[in-house]
Amino acid sequence: MAAPEKSSRAVGAVRQSFAPWNEPGKSPLIRFEKVSKRFGDTLAIDDLTLDIFEGEFFCLLGPSGCGKSTLMRMLAGFEQLTNGRVLLAGEDIAGVPPYRRPVNMMFQSYALFPHMNVEKNVAYGLVQEGMRRDEIRARVAEMLKLVQMESFAARRPDQLSGGQRQRVALARALAKRPKVLLLDEPLGALDKKLREETQFELMDIQIKLGTTFLVVTHDQEEAMTMADRIAVMDHGRVVQVATPGVIYEQPASRFVAEFVGDVNIVETVVEGGGSGSPWALCAKNDGAALSVDDPDETLERGDAVVVAVRPEKMRVSRERPEGEANVLAGEIWDIGYLGDWTVYRVRLDDGAIMRVTRANATRFTERPLDWEERVFVSFAPDAAVILTK
């Protein structure tokens, strides 16, 4: 793999050709402009600016309490801003009450009205709009068809399974054809298998309707699968906005690298190279040198950095690999067999634990690595990312 270019290519993006954020002069559908939100003494959103474009499937990803839900609820109109502006299609929506905003939300709890059947639930927003009755009926039927719930129209929410409720909630939120659909942890209440299926269904529906989707989630897998772009949030700030591929392969900070996927971290200092050269040599704390690409060419000798390497980009072998730039010796500490993958936890001679995964490409390995066996962990210079913060 060549050194990645600085501009975000659509690495790993869902739709390679869809990248409105790269079109110069294109104005966003949603703009959060220097937004702050204070609850008492705590700053939930801290001077945040973010653009979301029409037709995007956008994910706000972050640990609980990072402010992602608050940001979404600002757009829905349930939270007031302390500072800044929220623009929807170029207009400040500060004074618009929730019920007048062209934005609908799928609640985390689904918030289906327990005293109304599925049909009434889906029709609720349309009734508020004052739509004609036959139109409502047609729209409800269309929505239920979209989420494959036609045969459940007369059921009450408590007679539905979790997955069915999720579909009804989706249909209800989409019925008014909102400009933006907000989804608060849309798959959080579903079990793993259903969650994966539903992810793909949500993507299909989004592409079919062309509606802008804004999803809040703490589940990085969910975000990676569905989103065109992801904004990773931490402590009320956006720490990186990029396509899933860039987020994963070129995390902007140690927080992003650790939050999205697994990563091995080595804290070290730049010793050789640097200053305009395409690679840097870093001393590991036991003295062994690492050689890592520095595509941005910004490192200086003496910089404190962390080297981050994804487990699947490392190799573990019984013999010392020839011609490999970075080789670390250690012994097998733990083995986790996952079926498709095997996870090795290797204890290096300096005591650090490295996590290395290996795809189980063949059904049987002749002599599988065993516990406490001496091994070598290796990775290429372009497999690692150097992070300064």
Binding site: P98, Y99, R101, A111, P114, Q128
Partner: protein, 302 residues
């Protein structure tokens, strides 16, 4: 199951069952029996119960003695019909007033900061723990012609002559609303408290104004509380004695008072029993409804 556990089980169920059977069910049966017998001037002032020593003959004689005379009398005498109708009307109006006052109060309590709420609930329950009689009595001093309310209104200059409030139906309504407010507000609070906030948000998100969300979501979902609270007030108010007796004066007709007078004043026990039976029959439907509602509420709490 071990024998000891079986005995324990039988005791735990048997003791309260037996108590309520002897001291609640049986007495109601006796009331029914006496309502069908005739008054006599003696102690006890009615013809005696079934005499088992006379066997089958006695039982037949007992059946032959039963008469519907008391009930016919009730039906023919305007006083009783009027008392029943007036009780039902007063109870219905009072329940409506209670709902009108209790709902905003209960709703406001659920909107209060979470840390205040236990205190507000305690404050709502506390008057309930203090004597009913005293609470009614407190209003006499306020409402009577030379009472505090008139005194204050006169001194402020809002009125020029004392208002006659006590000994009217207005005083009865004030007293009823006052004494029964916790019974209405608490079940309402309990259901409104459980109401998921995101349902209201969802309604607003779908285009309903706060007012509309209230009527289409909050009120329908508070229905169990509204029903429980209303029945919890309506049923005892129909048979209420203390409030109309102390605040209502002679012009307020309520069946509880009529029964009391019949019993203690005229010593016509069979007629009083007949009044009680009719009252019971009128209240059976709301009582059954209340029981159902309670059972559902407990079921939901699970």
């Amino acid at each position: 199951m071990a024998l000891r556990d079986r005995i324990g089980r039988a005791l735990i169920l048997g003791a309260p069952f037996a108590w309520l059977g002897v001291f609640f069910l049986l007495p109601v049966g006796i009331v029914l029996k006496i309502s069908l017998s005739e008054q006599r001037l003696a102690q006890p002032p009615y013809w005696p119960l079934l005499d088992i020593s006379e066997g089958w003959e006695g039982f037949l004689a007992f059946l032959a003695d039963l008469s519907l005379e008391n009930f016919l009398f009730l039906w023919e005498d305007d006083l009783y019909v009027a008392s029943f109708l007036s009780s039902l009307r007063i109870a219905a109006v009072a329940t409506f007033l209670l709902l009108l006052i209790g709902f905003p109060l209960a709703y406001a309590m659920t909107r209060a900061p979470r840390s205040w709420r236990p205190m507000l609930v305690a404050a709502l329950i506390l008057p309930f723990w203090t004597s009913f009689l005293i609470r009614v009595y407190a209003w006499i001093g306020i409402l009577k012609p030379e009472g505090l309310l008139n005194h204050w209104l006169l001194s402020v200059g809002l009125i020029s002559a004392p208002l006659q409030i006590i000994d009217t139906e207005r005083a009865v309504f004030i007293g009823l609303v006052y004494t029964y407010l916790p019974f209405m507000a608490l079940p309402l609070y309990a259901t409104l408290e459980r109401l998921d906030d995101s349902l209201i948000e969802a309604a607003q998100d779908l285009g309903a104004s706060a007012f509309k969300a209230f009527w289409t979501i909050t009120v329908p979902l508070a229905k169990p509380g509204i029903i429980a609270g209303s029945l919890l007030c309506f049923i005892p108010i129909v048979g209420e004695f203390v409030v109309p007796d102390l605040l209502g004066g002679s012009e307020t007709l309520m069946i509880g008072r009529t029964l009391w007078t019949e019993f203690f004043g005229n010593r016509d026990w069979p007629l009083a029993s007949a009044v009680a039976i009719v009252l019971l029959v009128i209240l059976v439907v709301p009582i059954v409804l209340f029981r159902e509602a309670e059972a559902r509420r407990l079921e939901m709490g699970r």
